[in-house]
Structure formats: structure tokens, C-alpha cells
Amino acid sequence: MTGLVLTLHNPPAFELDCTTLNAATLQGKTLAQVGRLKLTQGRHRVSLGDLFDVSGDTQTDELTLLGVTPKLHRVGAGLASGVLRLSGNCGLELGLRMRGGRLLLTGNAGDGVGLGLRGGYLEVSGSAGDFIGGPAPGDVAGMNNGTIIIGRHAGARVGERMRRGLIIVGGDTGPLGGAQLIAGSIVLLGEVGPGLGTGMRRGSIVLAKPGHAPAATFNLAGTFDLPFMPLLIAHVTALKPRWRARLAGLARVTRWVGDASAGGMGEILLAS
């Protein structure tokens, strides 16, 4: 393992804000300096070293967090470059307003993965909660660029108010996926909950599993061999080769346009 390694030895009993934990802020510091770094925990300030064992080196832009727990929030917030690896189940707002680099979680994540994402690559190997790629606190629009991949299932409102970028969910998703979508692409490989694309204006929601019936405010626009689909399939396959077979049905898609209740011209593309 290269780079700096932080191993949680004293799991916090309540919410720890990990906003400052990324390689860019730690780079070049001595391990002792890293240990003295202050983090906000609930209403207190605590030293990083009281919670984590610090090892490795701070010369690279790589950081690994081991033994992550759901009390760790905002891990990778504002990440701009480098690689941040995590293992364990993390808390809320993983990769909040992340701008670049790679954030790789082996485990599950809480709500708000990639809120206000501006760029970069964020992957959760397991499942994640609600509001993936939605608006950051106070923002009107959701993620603006970048890629989010959820290996297994996701909660409600995947990609709500998303503006640009790509979200792929390997498993099932909850209600109101792509609600109020402004633009961008959401690819869902499993079952989807009710209210898909409610209030969407533009953008594409791609369902790899046939059989979904869009809401009455979506209009059937025909079945097509869209030239865009092979490109999308190739892109997703390049990221996740094991999903190749599940994407096969997308070569020919049925297109539904809406949400008409919001004057929207977005599309739901259903695998045939």
C-alpha cells in the first residue's frame, strides 16, 4: 500500500466530520503533524491521532482509510486530486462537492453520496443510501460533472436535480430516481422504485432491465437503435467489465419522453 494510511483504532461514538481528511491537506506534513490535526466531532474539536493510527508516508497524493464506520461523515469532501481509498461502511455525504481525483470505497455508504459533485470518479463497491449525486446543502442543482458508481443497491432519489455527469447503479434503486433531473445520465441496472423521473426536464435515465412502465406523464416515442447506446455500453463496460452481459439489452431501446407534467423533454430509455 502506498501513501498515507490512517487506521481507525478508536471508533468515534458520535458523528465525526472528516472534511479535512484528504491527501492534499496532509501532503508534506510529518506523521506527528498529521496526528495533531483537528477534526470536528459533534460540537467538539478532537485530534486525528486520538482516533486513528497514522502510518505510511505523506509524499504521494494517495490516502487510505481503514476501518471506516458509519459515524465518519463527509469523507473525501472537496477532494480535488489523488486517490482516496476507504474500507468499511462510511456515514453521510461521502465525496461532498468533490472536484477531481478518485474516491474508492470498499463497503457501503450512507445517504448523500457525491452531493454537489463537480468532477472526478467516485465508486462504492456495496450499497448506498438516498440522494446520490443530489444538491449539496444550500444548492439548487445537484452534481455538475464526474462519475458515480454504486456496485449494489441505492436508496431514493438517485441523481435528484442532477445537472451533468454520469451515475451508474448496479443493483436496485428506491423511489423517485432522477426526480427533477436537469440533465446528465443515470444508468440503472436493477429494479427501480416508483416515480422514476418525476419532474425531469432533460437528461437520460437508462434502464438495463426490461419491464418497467413509466408514469402516465411520459409519452412513448418509439423503439430505436440509437447510435449513442453502443458508446454508452462501451464506456460502462470499460469501467465495469463484469456488467457487460447485463447491458446487452440496451442495444435497442424504447424511448419515453417527459416529464410532461413539468414540460420536460427528458428521456427514459428502456432495454428491449
Partner: protein, 557 residues
Amino acid sequence: MDGTLIELHGGRLYDPTHGINGEVRTLYLSADGIVPPPPDAGAIAQSYDVSGCVLMAGGIDIHTHIGGGKVNLARMLLPEDHDRHPVARGVHPRMGSGHAAPSTLTVGYRYAEMGYTACFEPAMLLANARQAHLELGDTPIVDKGAYVLLGNDDLFLRLLAAKQDPAVIGDYLAWTLDAAQAMAIKVVNPGGINAFKFNQRKLDIDEENTAYGLTPRQILLALAQGIHTLGLPHPLHIHGSNLGVPGNVETTLATIAALEGLPAHITHIQFHAYGNEGDRKFSSGAARLAEAINRQPNISMDVGQVMFGQTVTESGDSMRQYAGSAYASPKKTVLMDIECDAGCGIVPFRYRDQSFVNALQWAIGLELFLLAEDPWRVFLTTDHPNGAPFTSYPHLIRLLMDRSFRNEKLASINPAAAAASILGTLTREYTLYDIAILTRAAPAKSLGLSSLGHLGVGARGDVVVYTDQPNREAMFQRPRYVFKAGELIVRDGRVIGTPTGATHVVKPDYERSIERTVNDYFARFMTVRPQNLRVSAAEIEGEGRGRLVVYSPRRSA
């Protein structure tokens, strides 16, 4: 006398109420407040050598939006304001957050850190008075009070349109003050908020509200007369018509004239001091307005200075906030209404020094400060948070006291705005004595706060010790000591004690028969009873946590 007796010796006192201008005097403080020198020096428990320091009474903010529905709406609309400005426990006694619409705890601490010990919330609705008092009750350290909004409520307009006896209207004003536990009466865009609900988009001083056939002029006069007759210490607090509209200086001048010599306070006057000259049809009306106010001893004003940066505007003026929502930054707005009492609009805004309009607004505010001849009739405000958060006061004080600093800032703003302003030609510099008037003595006098704003025997014992330094911003940002009611609460800019301040209310006499009128009205039109809205003294005093200071004015003929 009880508790510890504290002696502050060697400091220079600025106490305009008693005409003390920088004389070295010794002050004695106890839990009773400021006390005469003890006959026996042995009684002194603590003695502070404050040589080289400046002593003033605790600051009083006469107009700051720190409680009530609109502040909470702003907090909810702007999670980023709290997200980006967290304050961990340890920095303050308890955690908090927020910059433009801070949490209640943060408001109290930040005011105390600057040496302010009393704050007045200027826009409380009777329908929302309980919420306002709950928030004020949760604001530590500072004394507080609130002004109740009248003049856009249906019952008042009905009474006025029916040409009711002024005595009945006066009783209604007094009943509302009593029910809401208020300290004064404020009118916002007289009749205009109400007219907005009937789809009018502007209402000038002699335009009729179509629903009631009343003009702002009639409403202002009825309110000012009623308040004068009740003998309230603070005159009608006026947020005039046409806020922010280029050319509104005419409206403001007409508003002053409409009062026919009755006392009144014009609030955040900077937002009402715009001409419509020049290429951009936006110019300064400060000189004309200041001249008019200098001639009219019945009028006082607070400035509502604009400072550059992100803030949020919170106002009862739904009509103007609706118009302003197009300029929201970030782009989001809330307009809302409770029980048709008045209105409410929240519009986030970022004042930019390179914007012609914003830069000129900044200059107009400073022009008003510097052209106002009588410091007893001008109060230092930013209309927190509408012009800027109150935490910018030390910077504003430096702008007023330090001409070269001011000119340096003037050179950095939008050049066309700088050229359009006479600010560069104004050489006046405020003195410490003037600042003590603006921020202490004058607001106390205007509100009738006999125990605050001065350093005489009998005062509550709110005393601030500043280290005298040429950088006035640094000086006013971080007092060396702040005492609240004789207790040391801030040392070197850090809060070390958090007493609960008193709530100041005014209770004029009134004819109880008005309750029948109010009850009938509520039974017919409202969703609740008057007793549901009425805030009792016990709610504020709650198990000794709060304390009411009641002023009982005597009616004038």
C-alpha cells in the same frame, strides 16, 4: 449591595449621556450595576487597572433581525450559511453556526464579543410573537426587545378605513403592544404589504391601497399620532415605501413631511436615499435627505449601511422582496405570510464592490453618516443582515473614524460609483465620543432605556473596556473586558460568562373595551383566538430564566 464589588481605574470614560468625554475616572460595579464609590476601600473585591483603555457603556443595536419567523426561514433557506461557518464548542461556550443568519447562541456570543449588550429585533408579528420571544429568550447575554408590526394588518386598516375615533386606534395599538410583549411599533411599507396581497405591485405615499381606499400617508399619520398620544418612548419606527427603488428619495422626503412634525424614526434610511439621475438612472439622494433631517428635530434615523460580501435580506416588505427576488444570489427566495398580519420575504444577496449600484449604496450610507449633523439622531446599523451581518460593525466604525482608511476603500470600489459620490470630499471623522453616542447613548435615549447606554450611578452595569489603538476596527472588534450587569463576561474577546439578558417591553394604559372589538374581529376572520397569540409574562420569565423590564409611559394630551 450584594456580590462582589469591582473597581475599574485609570481608564478614559466616554459617557455622552453625562457629557463625559474621555475623562479619566474610576468606575465601581456590582451586581446592582454602577454604584457610587464605597466609603470603605476594603469593600472592593477586584480591582482592574485599565489605564490607556477606553470605557463605554455596553453597545445597543436599535435595529437587528435576530429573532422571529423570518430569521428562521433564512436559516432554513441557507443551510450553506451554517455549513460553512461552524463554531465548535470551546471557541464559544456552546456550539453554533452561521454568518448572515447565525444561530441564536452565536448571535448572543458575537454581539457580546464586540461589546454589545442590548439588541432590538425590529419586525415581530403579533401572529408570530411567541416564536420571536422564544428565539430572543434563547439568545444569551444581551438584553433584548422587539417592535411589533402594525399598519398592514387587516384590523388596523379596517378601523382606519371606518374612520374610527383615534382613541380606539390608540387602544388597539396599546393592546397589540401588550399582547405581543413589544417595545415599540414599526410600520413596514405602510399599506403596501397589504396592497401586494390585492395584486398591487407598488404603492407610493399618496397612492391608494385599492382594498381599503387608504394611502400610506394616512396610515403613517394615524400610527404616529396614536404612538404620540400613548406616550411611547420610541416614536413610530418607519420602514418607508419604495425601498430600494431609484428615485425613492422623493418618497422619503414626502414621508418626513407627511408626519406633520410628529416624532418618528426612519430606519435603514440608506435603502430609501436613492436618486434617479445620471447615465444609469441611479444616484445618491443622501445630501438632500441629510439636509432635510438636519432641519427636522422630530426625525431620527438609522443608516442600514451596506458592506460588501454575501448576506441575506430578511424583510416584512413582501412587495419589495418579491421585486428583489429577481436579483437573489444564490437564486432562491421565500415569500410567506401568517394570518395576513403583514408579510415576509427572504432573498439572499451578495453585495459586490465592483457593481455600480452596490458600490454606490455603500457610499450613500457613509455619506448619510457623515452629513448628519446631530449624532443623537443617527444610529449605527447595517439593518443586520440586510446591508451586512452585524459582525461588520467594527469595520464600519473604522470607516467613520478614519478618513484615510475610508478614502483607500473608496479608491477600490467601482470607479463610476466612486466618481458619482461626494464621499471623497467629506473630511469629517467621527470621534470616540460620537461613536459612543451613535452606538450607546442615542439608542438608549430613543428607546427610553433609563438603565442602559450610560455609565452613571444606577446604570445596569454594562461596561466595555477597549484597548485604545489607532486601528479602530481591531479596537472595536476585540474589547479587553466586557461586563454585563456587573459580571465579567468577555475577556480579551473571549466569552467567559453567559448570563441571560432582560426583555424590555412597554405597557401603555388602554381602555379594556378594545378587547371586545379585537375578539369580535378574531371570531369572525381569524383561525385562532387573541388569547392564543397573547404572550404572557410568565412565558418570558419562565422559571427565572428570563426577566421582564416594563416601561409604563404616561399618556400625553
